[in-house]
Protein backbone atom coordinates (compact mmCIF):
# COMPACT_ATOMS: atom_id res chain seq x y z
CA UNK A 1 0.00 0.00 0.00
CA UNK A 2 1.52 3.31 -1.01
CA UNK A 3 1.88 6.16 1.41
CA UNK A 4 -1.30 8.08 1.98
CA UNK A 5 -3.49 5.62 0.08
CA UNK A 6 -7.00 5.48 1.62
CA UNK A 7 -5.75 6.82 4.95
CA UNK A 8 -8.07 8.51 7.31
CA UNK A 9 -7.28 12.18 7.74
CA UNK A 10 -6.20 11.85 11.34
CA UNK A 11 -4.32 8.59 11.20
CA UNK A 12 -0.79 7.68 10.14
CA UNK A 13 -1.22 3.92 10.58
CA UNK A 14 -2.55 3.30 7.09
CA UNK A 15 -5.77 1.51 6.23
CA UNK A 16 -6.94 -1.44 8.29
CA UNK A 17 -6.03 -4.63 6.40
CA UNK A 18 -6.37 -7.36 9.03
CA UNK A 19 -8.75 -8.16 11.85
CA UNK A 20 -7.90 -10.22 14.93
CA UNK A 21 -10.60 -12.86 15.29
CA UNK A 22 -9.54 -15.12 18.17
CA UNK A 23 -11.80 -17.99 19.03
CA UNK A 24 -11.87 -19.09 22.62
CA UNK A 25 -13.58 -21.88 24.49
CA UNK A 26 -13.72 -21.91 28.29
CA UNK A 27 -14.83 -25.22 29.69
CA UNK A 28 -14.60 -27.41 32.77
CA UNK A 29 -13.11 -30.83 32.29
CA UNK A 30 -14.54 -33.52 34.54
CA UNK A 31 -12.11 -36.38 35.11
CA UNK A 32 -14.75 -38.89 36.16
CA UNK A 33 -14.61 -41.22 39.14
CA UNK A 34 -11.99 -43.67 37.83
CA UNK A 35 -9.55 -41.08 36.56
CA UNK A 36 -10.04 -39.01 39.70
CA UNK A 37 -8.77 -42.00 41.70
CA UNK A 38 -5.75 -42.18 39.46
CA UNK A 39 -5.12 -38.45 39.81
CA UNK A 40 -5.43 -38.64 43.62
CA UNK A 41 -2.90 -41.46 43.52
CA UNK A 42 -0.50 -39.25 41.59
CA UNK A 43 -0.92 -36.62 44.33
CA UNK A 44 0.37 -39.27 46.75
CA UNK A 45 3.23 -40.31 44.47
CA UNK A 46 1.77 -43.59 43.30
CA UNK A 47 0.12 -45.09 40.23
CA UNK A 48 -3.46 -46.29 40.73
CA UNK A 49 -5.23 -48.39 38.12
CA UNK A 50 -8.33 -50.56 37.88
CA UNK A 51 -8.75 -54.25 37.08
CA UNK A 52 -11.47 -55.77 34.89
CA UNK A 53 -13.39 -58.45 36.72
CA UNK A 54 -13.83 -60.48 33.52
CA UNK A 55 -10.49 -60.44 31.67
CA UNK A 56 -8.47 -59.37 34.74
CA UNK A 57 -6.51 -56.81 32.76
CA UNK A 58 -5.31 -53.77 34.72
CA UNK A 59 -5.80 -50.36 33.11
CA UNK A 60 -3.86 -47.27 34.17
CA UNK A 61 -5.15 -44.65 34.01
CA UNK A 62 -8.52 -46.36 33.97
CA UNK A 63 -11.56 -44.84 32.29
CA UNK A 64 -13.81 -46.81 34.63
CA UNK A 65 -14.75 -49.60 32.27
CA UNK A 66 -13.09 -52.39 30.32
CA UNK A 67 -13.06 -51.63 26.57
CA UNK A 68 -12.98 -55.37 25.78
CA UNK A 69 -15.68 -56.66 28.13
CA UNK A 70 -17.77 -53.55 28.53
CA UNK A 71 -18.04 -53.90 32.31
CA UNK A 72 -17.21 -51.48 35.09
CA UNK A 73 -13.72 -51.84 36.55
CA UNK A 74 -14.36 -51.34 40.25
CA UNK A 75 -11.30 -53.21 41.53
CA UNK A 76 -8.74 -50.53 42.42
CA UNK A 77 -5.10 -51.61 42.08
CA UNK A 78 -1.96 -49.82 43.19
CA UNK A 79 0.84 -50.36 40.71
CA UNK A 80 4.61 -50.51 40.97
CA UNK A 81 6.88 -47.54 40.47
CA UNK A 82 8.83 -49.52 37.86
CA UNK A 83 8.07 -50.55 34.32
CA UNK A 84 9.37 -51.37 30.86
CA UNK A 85 9.81 -49.23 27.76
CA UNK A 86 7.74 -50.97 25.10
CA UNK A 87 8.37 -48.45 22.34
CA UNK A 88 9.69 -44.91 22.06
CA UNK A 89 10.62 -42.08 19.77
CA UNK A 90 13.37 -39.48 19.82
CA UNK A 91 11.96 -35.98 19.55
CA UNK A 92 14.37 -33.84 17.52
CA UNK A 93 12.00 -31.29 16.07
CA UNK A 94 11.36 -28.04 17.93
CA UNK A 95 7.74 -26.88 18.10
CA UNK A 96 5.75 -24.03 19.60
CA UNK A 97 5.18 -24.41 23.33
CA UNK A 98 7.98 -26.93 23.78
CA UNK A 99 9.04 -27.13 27.41
CA UNK A 100 11.74 -29.83 27.24
CA UNK A 101 15.14 -29.40 25.66
CA UNK A 102 15.55 -31.47 22.49
CA UNK A 103 16.51 -34.15 21.76
CA UNK A 104 14.45 -36.07 24.27
CA UNK A 105 12.77 -39.46 24.49
CA UNK A 106 9.02 -39.93 24.52
CA UNK A 107 8.32 -43.55 25.43
CA UNK A 108 5.41 -45.85 26.06
CA UNK A 109 5.97 -47.29 29.55
CA UNK A 110 4.27 -50.49 30.70
CA UNK A 111 4.17 -50.41 34.50
CA UNK A 112 4.77 -53.71 36.26
CA UNK A 113 1.35 -55.19 36.94
CA UNK A 114 -0.40 -53.10 34.27
CA UNK A 115 -1.87 -54.28 30.98
CA UNK A 116 -1.69 -51.00 29.14
CA UNK A 117 1.20 -48.64 28.56
CA UNK A 118 1.14 -44.87 28.81
CA UNK A 119 3.37 -42.11 27.59
CA UNK A 120 6.32 -40.95 29.64
CA UNK A 121 9.48 -38.90 29.34
CA UNK A 122 12.78 -40.82 29.65
CA UNK A 123 15.75 -38.98 31.16
CA UNK A 124 19.16 -39.69 32.78
CA UNK A 125 20.24 -41.76 29.77
CA UNK A 126 21.76 -40.69 26.41
CA UNK A 127 19.02 -40.69 23.78
CA UNK A 128 20.90 -43.18 21.59
CA UNK A 129 21.00 -45.73 24.41
CA UNK A 130 17.24 -45.92 24.96
CA UNK A 131 15.80 -49.20 23.72
CA UNK A 132 12.73 -51.41 23.81
CA UNK A 133 12.77 -53.49 26.96
CA UNK A 134 14.66 -50.86 28.98
CA UNK A 135 13.68 -51.10 32.65
CA UNK A 136 12.70 -47.74 34.12
CA UNK A 137 11.35 -46.19 37.31
CA UNK A 138 9.31 -43.08 37.88
CA UNK A 139 11.00 -40.03 39.35
CA UNK A 140 8.50 -37.86 41.20
CA UNK A 141 8.57 -34.16 41.94
CA UNK A 142 9.38 -33.07 45.49
CA UNK A 143 6.67 -34.13 47.97
CA UNK A 144 5.45 -30.56 48.52
CA UNK A 145 4.94 -30.22 44.75
CA UNK A 146 2.89 -33.39 44.28
CA UNK A 147 -0.58 -32.81 42.90
CA UNK A 148 -3.45 -34.58 41.10
CA UNK A 149 -1.69 -34.32 37.73
CA UNK A 150 0.69 -36.32 35.55
CA UNK A 151 3.10 -33.43 36.11
CA UNK A 152 3.75 -35.10 39.49
CA UNK A 153 5.89 -37.56 37.52
CA UNK A 154 9.01 -35.67 36.47
CA UNK A 155 10.18 -38.45 34.18
CA UNK A 156 11.26 -42.09 34.08
CA UNK A 157 14.90 -43.12 34.39
CA UNK A 158 16.74 -46.44 33.95
CA UNK A 159 16.76 -48.71 36.98
CA UNK A 160 20.00 -50.38 35.84
CA UNK A 161 18.35 -53.79 35.84
CA UNK A 162 18.77 -56.11 32.85
CA UNK A 163 16.39 -55.45 29.97
CA UNK A 164 13.00 -57.14 30.04
CA UNK A 165 12.62 -60.19 27.82
CA UNK A 166 10.66 -59.28 24.68
CA UNK A 167 8.18 -62.08 25.44
CA UNK A 168 7.11 -60.25 28.61
CA UNK A 169 5.88 -57.15 26.78
CA UNK A 170 5.38 -58.20 23.14
CA UNK A 171 1.59 -58.04 23.55
CA UNK A 172 1.84 -54.38 24.52
CA UNK A 173 3.96 -52.94 21.72
Amino acid sequence: MTSGDQRGPSDERGPVTTLATPIRLDYVFSAGIAQSRNLRGLAEGKFVGQRCGVCHKVYVPSRGSCPVDGVATDDVVELANTGTVTTYCVVNVPFAGQSIEIPYICAMVLLDGADISFMGLIQEIPTDEVRMGLRVEAVWVDPEDLGPTMASVKYFRPTGDPDADYETYKDYT
Binding site: D11, T17, I23, D26, V28, P148
Partner: protein, 153 residues
Protein backbone atom coordinates in the same frame (compact mmCIF):
# COMPACT_ATOMS: atom_id res chain seq x y z
CA UNK B 1 -16.97 -30.31 49.39
CA UNK B 2 -15.15 -32.97 51.41
CA UNK B 3 -12.26 -34.54 49.56
CA UNK B 4 -13.58 -38.08 49.73
CA UNK B 5 -12.15 -40.84 47.58
CA UNK B 6 -15.06 -40.81 45.15
CA UNK B 7 -15.37 -37.09 44.53
CA UNK B 8 -14.83 -36.33 40.88
CA UNK B 9 -12.01 -33.95 40.12
CA UNK B 10 -12.62 -31.13 37.68
CA UNK B 11 -10.32 -28.65 36.03
CA UNK B 12 -10.90 -25.38 34.18
CA UNK B 13 -9.58 -25.50 30.63
CA UNK B 14 -9.19 -22.80 28.00
CA UNK B 15 -8.84 -23.53 24.31
CA UNK B 16 -7.92 -20.47 22.26
CA UNK B 17 -6.65 -19.81 18.76
CA UNK B 18 -5.38 -16.30 17.92
CA UNK B 19 -6.64 -16.12 14.35
CA UNK B 20 -6.38 -12.99 12.28
CA UNK B 21 -7.92 -12.57 8.86
CA UNK B 22 -7.28 -10.18 6.01
CA UNK B 23 -10.31 -8.02 5.43
CA UNK B 24 -10.02 -6.86 1.82
CA UNK B 25 -10.51 -3.34 0.46
CA UNK B 26 -14.20 -2.86 1.28
CA UNK B 27 -14.48 -4.23 4.83
CA UNK B 28 -11.03 -2.67 5.32
CA UNK B 29 -12.45 0.74 4.42
CA UNK B 30 -15.36 0.14 6.81
CA UNK B 31 -12.98 -0.79 9.66
CA UNK B 32 -10.67 2.12 8.84
CA UNK B 33 -13.74 4.36 9.03
CA UNK B 34 -14.64 2.97 12.45
CA UNK B 35 -11.12 3.73 13.62
CA UNK B 36 -11.68 7.30 12.42
CA UNK B 37 -15.01 7.43 14.26
CA UNK B 38 -17.10 7.16 11.08
CA UNK B 39 -19.47 4.59 9.65
CA UNK B 40 -18.86 3.85 5.97
CA UNK B 41 -21.18 2.11 3.52
CA UNK B 42 -20.84 1.04 -0.10
CA UNK B 43 -23.20 2.08 -2.87
CA UNK B 44 -24.93 -0.87 -4.48
CA UNK B 45 -26.33 -1.24 -8.00
CA UNK B 46 -29.58 0.60 -7.43
CA UNK B 47 -27.96 3.40 -5.43
CA UNK B 48 -28.79 1.67 -2.16
CA UNK B 49 -26.09 2.18 0.45
CA UNK B 50 -25.11 -1.13 2.03
CA UNK B 51 -23.89 -1.01 5.65
CA UNK B 52 -21.70 -2.77 6.62
CA UNK B 53 -20.42 -2.61 3.06
CA UNK B 54 -20.07 -5.67 0.86
CA UNK B 55 -17.75 -6.08 -2.11
CA UNK B 56 -20.61 -7.13 -4.36
CA UNK B 57 -24.27 -6.14 -4.58
CA UNK B 58 -26.26 -8.99 -3.03
CA UNK B 59 -28.98 -8.77 -5.71
CA UNK B 60 -27.08 -8.07 -8.93
CA UNK B 61 -23.65 -9.50 -7.97
CA UNK B 62 -22.10 -6.36 -9.51
CA UNK B 63 -19.16 -4.81 -7.66
CA UNK B 64 -20.34 -2.13 -5.26
CA UNK B 65 -19.33 1.43 -5.95
CA UNK B 66 -18.64 4.63 -4.08
CA UNK B 67 -17.98 4.48 -0.36
CA UNK B 68 -20.10 6.95 1.57
CA UNK B 69 -20.40 7.96 5.19
CA UNK B 70 -23.68 7.22 6.95
CA UNK B 71 -25.11 7.87 10.42
CA UNK B 72 -24.02 8.32 13.13
CA UNK B 73 -27.72 8.32 14.00
CA UNK B 74 -30.25 5.81 12.81
CA UNK B 75 -33.53 4.04 13.47
CA UNK B 76 -34.11 0.76 15.28
CA UNK B 77 -35.85 -1.69 12.96
CA UNK B 78 -35.89 -4.71 15.24
CA UNK B 79 -34.54 -5.65 18.64
CA UNK B 80 -34.18 -8.42 21.23
CA UNK B 81 -33.59 -7.80 24.91
CA UNK B 82 -30.77 -9.60 26.71
CA UNK B 83 -31.58 -9.49 30.43
CA UNK B 84 -28.68 -11.64 31.58
CA UNK B 85 -25.54 -10.92 29.56
CA UNK B 86 -23.08 -13.81 29.20
CA UNK B 87 -19.30 -13.33 29.54
CA UNK B 88 -18.80 -13.19 25.77
CA UNK B 89 -21.39 -10.45 25.23
CA UNK B 90 -20.14 -6.96 24.36
CA UNK B 91 -21.80 -5.29 27.36
CA UNK B 92 -21.81 -6.44 30.96
CA UNK B 93 -25.14 -4.82 31.76
CA UNK B 94 -28.50 -5.85 30.25
CA UNK B 95 -28.79 -4.59 26.66
CA UNK B 96 -30.68 -5.08 23.40
CA UNK B 97 -29.44 -6.57 20.17
CA UNK B 98 -30.67 -4.15 17.55
CA UNK B 99 -30.88 -3.90 13.79
CA UNK B 100 -30.17 -0.24 13.08
CA UNK B 101 -30.86 1.44 9.76
CA UNK B 102 -28.34 4.26 9.82
CA UNK B 103 -29.30 7.60 8.27
CA UNK B 104 -28.34 7.38 4.61
CA UNK B 105 -28.22 3.58 4.58
CA UNK B 106 -30.54 1.24 2.74
CA UNK B 107 -29.78 -1.78 4.90
CA UNK B 108 -29.76 -2.34 8.64
CA UNK B 109 -26.75 -3.28 10.74
CA UNK B 110 -26.60 -5.52 13.79
CA UNK B 111 -25.19 -3.96 16.94
CA UNK B 112 -26.02 -3.50 20.61
CA UNK B 113 -28.14 -0.83 22.21
CA UNK B 114 -27.19 0.31 25.69
CA UNK B 115 -30.56 1.04 27.28
CA UNK B 116 -31.69 0.91 30.91
CA UNK B 117 -34.58 -1.51 30.37
CA UNK B 118 -36.70 -3.07 27.61
CA UNK B 119 -39.29 -0.38 28.35
CA UNK B 120 -36.82 2.13 26.92
CA UNK B 121 -36.53 0.25 23.61
CA UNK B 122 -38.94 0.29 20.70
CA UNK B 123 -38.91 -0.14 16.96
CA UNK B 124 -38.60 3.18 15.13
CA UNK B 125 -36.74 4.70 18.08
CA UNK B 126 -33.86 6.97 17.17
CA UNK B 127 -30.39 5.92 18.26
CA UNK B 128 -26.82 7.16 17.92
CA UNK B 129 -23.48 5.36 17.65
CA UNK B 130 -21.37 5.84 20.76
CA UNK B 131 -17.74 5.38 19.76
CA UNK B 132 -14.98 4.43 22.18
CA UNK B 133 -12.30 7.08 22.74
CA UNK B 134 -10.21 7.92 19.69
CA UNK B 135 -6.96 6.51 21.06
CA UNK B 136 -8.63 3.20 21.84
CA UNK B 137 -10.13 2.61 18.40
CA UNK B 138 -8.23 0.05 16.34
CA UNK B 139 -10.52 -0.74 13.42
CA UNK B 140 -13.07 -3.27 14.60
CA UNK B 141 -16.82 -3.32 15.14
CA UNK B 142 -16.26 -2.84 18.89
CA UNK B 143 -14.93 0.64 18.07
CA UNK B 144 -18.62 1.45 18.36
CA UNK B 145 -19.06 0.73 22.07
CA UNK B 146 -22.83 0.57 21.64
CA UNK B 147 -25.73 2.48 20.22
CA UNK B 148 -27.51 4.72 22.69
CA UNK B 149 -30.86 6.51 22.53
CA UNK B 150 -30.44 9.63 20.36
CA UNK B 151 -30.30 12.79 22.37
CA UNK B 152 -28.89 11.07 25.46
CA UNK B 153 -25.56 12.15 26.86
Amino acid sequence: MADSADDVLTSAHVLEYPYSRSVGPVIGAFLTGLRDGKIIGATGSGGVVIVPPTEYDPYTAEPTGEMVEVGPEGTVESWAWVGTPAPQHPLETPFAWVLVRLDGAGTSMLHVLDAPSPDAVSTKMRVRADFVAEGERIGRIQDIRAFVPAGSA
